[in-house]
Subunit: 440 residues, 2 copies
């Protein structure tokens, strides 16, 4: 790994951290409060305006990040040279591993305002350090997954290809592909996402390939010669009608698909379908890919479109690029004596920043038909009737990850979670969260 | 480097690539067009709505990415196992290095619709592969730098701290810190950005530190004991007035700063300044950090605020998280014969996607007072009067990076570029690009 060139040369996840976490650690170590047992919770005070539900995504990446959160010599040298923390703190950091417990909503689950999507428990010292990296991952990935989920609802079962790598940071793109897959996308154009997460990858050609050739027909011939007639030919470089004719002429009626990347997609899809059918290419599919979002996808529901490629609006969360989750201390012990009881703490409300104290459980209450009707969040005892509807699962026990899972399981969970919500969750229009959050 | 846990395990930048670049390569290799000389250009068709100028950022990261764009065995195995490209293409990729030329606007420079911010020249094969990674970097970094620049204008010389790591992907955050610094920010809370790019880092404490203690005064005492009286105390956990009194009481009138993170900042800043002065803490600074954007910063211009911390709105480009630059083939040779002349090519306009063909130069035309009046973009000969106002510089020659530079130089260039624009560039209100783009 070259020092230069890779987008980052951070040897662990420990530096994905705001400086104040380390200075708080130093002050707490010196003040004798660092070893107090604490509970931190991750939650969003609200959903992005008009959204009906949120999607928990990134949990698997958080588990990886926690496992790799350690301070090697290079990192410690940096902290020492910059004078960021003192000698005793550096010494403490040198053997740091998170040894506490993490519970949370399993990845792919939906969430609502106030849902305690993750709960981190341990000493103040070990928990406070994880704030930034946990939030970075959950805020980014959940924002993308929420957009993906709405797009998948709008697509109504038609395949969705993630194509946004060029519209976001090169590594955010990899996480975005992953989150999109969780949210219901089918594949990605991003090879790094295929490599890293084993997501199916797709892609055939761009306008530059057509322009490279002396004629469009020449480009199609070259592509079919190399990739076979089952390939997808891009037909909007010059004139769509001529291109479709040339495409079927070159590839035969067994042509895999044509792609339309500009123009009035609704009109073009109908026209191209008609033309393809007339040319006998009745099995040839139509893929559209021009600045789509969930609304544009929905508007094509009645059009003869077989797959959608989505870029910008997916990787930027369709108007909401971050999920605005926070990581708050909600309970702590009064001393570092073993077994000292935890008591709820909270910042005083000012300007809307409320956060109820105490470690919380959450359960999804169902109506008589088994449809979710409320997100119940509470402290203390869980009411008996909710005991089998609890949402949080154990993710890390004593510093060991205990809930690693594959992306297909996560993807399946999201589908199920969505199916359990009231039908109004599927409306794209702006509205209130589809479940009220009830505190007990 | 563990296989798991790090946010990515991609051994080079070569996989930050959309699959179609490799399939186009395969088809072009087989069709005999891969070695045609080509010119690709990066430009934005428009600025985000209402913005007066764009900021080129990420160039340095692009140069690093191009240098590290190579296919090792692990990557080739992946491509082979997935059947993404054929044997001859894998063989070609195994020795791939970019050996062409890159020119572009130097980093920190401003740009306008159609400005050819980067020009990549070489064979089709070597240039087409770089599309995604170049766009990812420039689109992300330029979006953040543009927001940062507006915020710096609004702050009018007061320091700006980048605090957005928790609101974006953990590695996008590092690039965002870098872009913010280019755009005029002073420091960052993100330790990885300090480590990777040597940006000054800051940070002292969060609400959780206050809540950890049995009293606010106890928390302040612990912080001052450990970090010195020059530290920044967070005063909005409970009651601001009481907190300020306790803060000065504990730290003395030499207290470095107080931070306000919620509430009516304008009102609170005045009230806290008054209180600090009354307590004799006339040198104690006031830092504000609550969901700021360029408009909120501007609204505090007359308030006694000494520094701003900005998170969400910075890293998400203040409403425009991507710069929507594209990478287009604009000229190519008709054959791969050495010296074959390049001819302009362009996709036919449909639905507004125009892109004038031909390799372009760009110059910034000045009025008699030396103020910029137009962005002149042309093909062919450069008019004599513009010869010393050309914007593009040589970045890569024959595959070698020739224009590596430090961030402070880039930051300085941005300041200068901004100073050369008409005054209306500094207006935060929505408007047209401050320079018209003229094609000659």
């Amino acid at each position: 790994m070259a020092d230069r060139g890779l987008p980052v040369a951070v040897p662990s996840t420990a530096l994905f951290t705001d400086q104040y976490e380390l200075t708080m650690l130093q002050a707490a170590l010196r003040g004798g409060t660092a070893e107090r047992q604490c509970v931190f919770e991750v939650f969003a005070r609200r959903l992005p305006e008009g959204r009906r539900y949120g999607v928990v995504a990134g949990t698997g990446r958080v588990l990886d990040a926690v496992e790799n959160f350690s301070f090697d010599e290079k990192v410690l040298d940096f902290l020492r040279q910059r004078g960021i923390v003192d000698g005793p703190t550096l010494h403490w950091l040198s053997s740091y591993r998170f040894r506490g417990d993490i519970h949370g909503y399993p990845e792919g689950e939906v969430y609502f305002p106030g849902s305690p999507v993750m709960r981190v428990q341990g000493t103040f010292a070990e928990c406070v350090l994880l704030e930034t990296v946990i939030l970075s991952i959950l805020n980014h990935d959940s924002a993308v997954a929420a957009a993906a989920s709405r797009m998948a609802v709008a697509a109504g079962g038609r395949p969705l290809v993630e194509m946004g790598a060029r519209r976001t940071h090169e590594l955010a793109a990899v996480a975005a592909s992953r989150a999109a897959y969780v949210g219901g996308f089918t594949s990605t154009s991003d090879l790094a996402a295929g490599f890293r997460y084993d997501i199916p990858t797709v892609g055939t050609s761009a306008h530059s390939f057509t322009l490279l050739h002396d004629s469009e027909r020449g480009a199609f011939t070259a592509q079919v010669d190399s990739l076979g007639s089952d390939t997808t030919l891009l037909v909007d470089t010059y004139d769509v009608t001529e291109a479709v004719r040339a495409a079927v002429d070159v590839a035969g009626p067994g042509l895999g698909a044509v792609r339309i990347d500009s123009g009035d997609l609704l009109l073009l899809a109908h026209r191209v379908r008609h033309q393809l059918d007339e040319l006998g290419a009745t099995q040839t599919k139509i893929v559209v890919t021009s600045d789509l979002d969930e609304y544009a996808i929905a508007s094509l529901a009645a059009a003869p479109v077989d797959a959608y490629g989505v870029g910008t609006q997916l990787v930027t969360g369709s108007g909401h690029p971050t999920a605005s989750m926070v990581y708050k201390l909600v309970a702590r012990a009064d001393s570092d004596a073993p077994g000292a009881p935890l008591r709820p703490v909270a910042k005083k409300s000012m300007g809307g920043k409320t956060s109820p104290g105490g470690a919380k459980w959450a359960a999804r209450q169902l109506d008589e038909d088994g449809v979710a009707m409320a997100e119940v969040v509470g402290t203390g005892e869980v009411p008996e009737e909710l005991a089998d509807r609890l949402l949080q699962v154990e993710l890390v026990r004593g510093g060991k990850v205990v809930a690693r899972e594959g992306l297909d399981a996560v993807r399946g969970r999201h589908k199920e979670a969505l199916a359990g919500l009231p039908m109004s969750a599927m409306q794209l229009s702006r509205g209130e969260p589809v479940l009220p959050t009830e505190y007990v």
